[in-house]
Symmetry: C2
Subunit: 397 residues, 2 copies
């Protein structure tokens, strides 16, 4: 990917060093739209929401889905900080609006990092001022780096799709260290596009795109207080008009989110295997999802993945714990091309060594056929490794 | 506890070495009642039920809660073994009934160990015969040892309570290595009493006793295919007649189960801290339980426990993920006597070092006050440690 691809007509980006992260480096990012852009966002389902989440939800609603920019800091989550946290988040949004010459209330705010400590607002203010003076069309890589916490590398994806024969750009970045890093490892995702799309349509596209991607990955099943995915559309490019255009746009957005979600999992600290849990033959979509999620989050399955141990009893056990009326004697299980279980019992030709060899691959699929219907789903899981415990047990203290 | 306490009028016990466990030792246990005893049992909620669970459920129903004995093997779970597994479990029950001179259909069967392998029925048969010849009133310790898998020690509890001025004995044992050991670490629990109690009343007592004890502990949240708790009452002692007697009996049974559940947690391999999650001020019992269970099973909380890290943001995050309409700004958090959070934000006098010192204790409480109502609950949790990963990732292969 060359620098030329990392642009999107109608947007400028900046990354600044504010000294908010104790280890230094870029820790404040700004996205600025030249004109008011359509915006849609999804936020954490956690009942404990950080101040920036509450402030951004209110701002997006008040602005009726038309905003001018986003300001993000890393190094401090501004979560569990009480009324002062809310005031700080609102002030960040005001300062950023001023820095990009936008009206008050036209900027969303996001934070990620340590929980329970007040933002160092003097540093944040200086960094926002600095970012406002260094906005560039080519600044996306700096922005993507500024939102990182324990991520090992920036995670960026880019797509060009065609809407009515005209090209439309989609450019996104994500952070989260696979949601397994310390401090609940907030997942933040920001996507810009030059498509001309109304806020309502953008909202529909975002909600459909996250379902099979960001909502189908799990490292440890915990949802951060700060999670947020926001998409901005400048309208500088082709218009998205009518159902066909919207379907095509949604498809491209989903592919972009899938790319970002895979990068998120693969960059998880302590993650050595990204495993697709593929459930087929379920009686309903809800049943398929419940089974896939339960297998993906079972500690006993995740440690078996870590140990490359084809211990299929643990997988069947997790399926049985999904709260779904499955028929154990119908279940087939496979690891990629190796069949482990047929009709609920060990496959007669099962070769543990060949099965274990599959599990040494960095990416593979656990395939679960329930033989009860036609619903299917896919969920991304990973191993529960010593590194996970080290990172999360030894952090902070 | 001396040997004399480990008896219960009306019962004899045996442990035998059948060579079912590859490492050798006692691996088959029998409980025999002199006369038909009242029996009540609870079984795994997993949809994938091992053959002995299905066979015992049917036998208990057919016998209308009056049985003569229980046979248990360790070393092989007889789970995911298809129709042959069911036939083997029924044959175990028949062989045991013959060995204790009981009628066909009067014996329950339980198994724990490796999943997906057929029982070595020649060895099982020889062991049942041997056990039938070595039934002793003092044999409970041998029985308790025979049901162990990766448990480090037998877990036995004993109580004498008074019903209408007469003593009633309660004697129980449990296995499970804290449910965190390999192969889904089946939890098996067997309790005998000399009380004279009808099967229906015994069933009510058992269901009430397990709720705040066995149903309020979690190591990794996985439920085995083989879990079972059974209680037998011989009637050789005092009768339990009327509501007052039943309440007293239930209280004693609950205390016994609490003792056994604590031993189960403390013996969990990889467990260094047994932590009581105490939720108070909840709007409802269901809300209290949902919050306690979520905190107890959160990997980020459990790794913080392992690292003795008073990272209270993770606890608040888990509370917020419980799916309960909590009010974040009302929550108080404490570790034993150390307050971490007041009204959803860090306590002004919070001292991380003192908080971490509490977390080095082998047992302590995480106290969560929601300030929304009067409901309360307690749940036992433990750490997610390197040992857990080693035991479960490195097992089998």
């Amino acid at each position: 990917m060359n620098g030329g691809e990392l642009t999107c007509a109608g947007f400028r980006f900046a990354g600044a060093c504010g000294g908010i992260k104790k280890k230094g480096g870029l820790d404040l990012g700004v996205i600025a739209a030249d004109e008011a852009a359509s915006c849609a966002a999804v936020f954490t389902q956690n009942r404990v929401k950080a101040a920036p989440v509450r402030v951004s939800q209110a701002a997006l609603k008040a602005a009726r889905g038309r905003i001018r920019g986003i300001v993000v800091n890393s190094g401090n989550a501004n979560a569990c900080t009480g009324p002062r946290g809310d005031a700080d988040a609102r002030r960040m949004a005001r300062l950023a609006a001023a820095a990009i010459d936008g009206p008050a209330g036209s900027v969303l705010v996001a934070s990620t990092g340590v929980i329970g400590e007040a933002l160092p607002m003097d540093r944040v203010e200086a960094a926002i001022r600095s970012a406002g003076l260094s906005l560039y069309e080519e600044g996306f890589a700096a922005f993507a780096e500024a939102i990182m916490t324990t991520d090992r590398r920036p995670k960026i994806a880019h797509r060009t799709i065609r809407i009515g024969r005209r090209p439309v750009s989609l450019l996104g970045c994500t952070k989260g260290a696979g949601m397994i890093a310390p401090n609940m490892a907030t997942t933040l995702t920001f996507i810009v596009t030059d498509a001309g799309i109304a806020p309502g349509d953008l909202d529909r596209a975002v909600r459909r795109a996250v379902e099979p991607t960001y909502n189908a990955i799990a490292v440890d099943g915990d949802t951060s207080t700060n999670d947020m995915l926001a998409a901005l559309a400048s309208g500088a490019g082709a218009p998205v008009a009518g159902a066909t255009d919207l379907a095509r746009f949604t498809e491209g957005l989903t592919a972009l989110c899938d790319d970002l979600a895979h990068q998120l999992m693969a960059d998880g600290e302590g993650v050595h295997h990204v495993v697709a849990i593929e459930v087929t033959g379920a009686a309903s979509d809800a049943a398929a999802r419940a089974v896939a999620r339960r297998v993906a989050t079972s500690p006993l399955v995740k440690t078996a993945i870590a140990g490359a141990d084809p211990n299929w009893g643990r997988i069947l056990c997790a399926v049985g714990n999904a709260g779904v009326a499955i028929r154990p004697d119908r279940i087939d299980l496979a690891l990629d091309e190796i069949t482990l279980v047929r009709g609920g019992v060990a496959a007669p030709d099962l070769d543990d060594k060949r099965a274990s060899a599959v599990m040494h691959r960095p990416a593979y699929a656990i395939r679960i056929e329930l033989h009860q219907g036609k619903a299917r789903t896919r969920f991304l899981a990973c191993d529960l490794s010593h590194d996970y415990v080290s990172i999360n047990a030894d952090y902070r203290t």
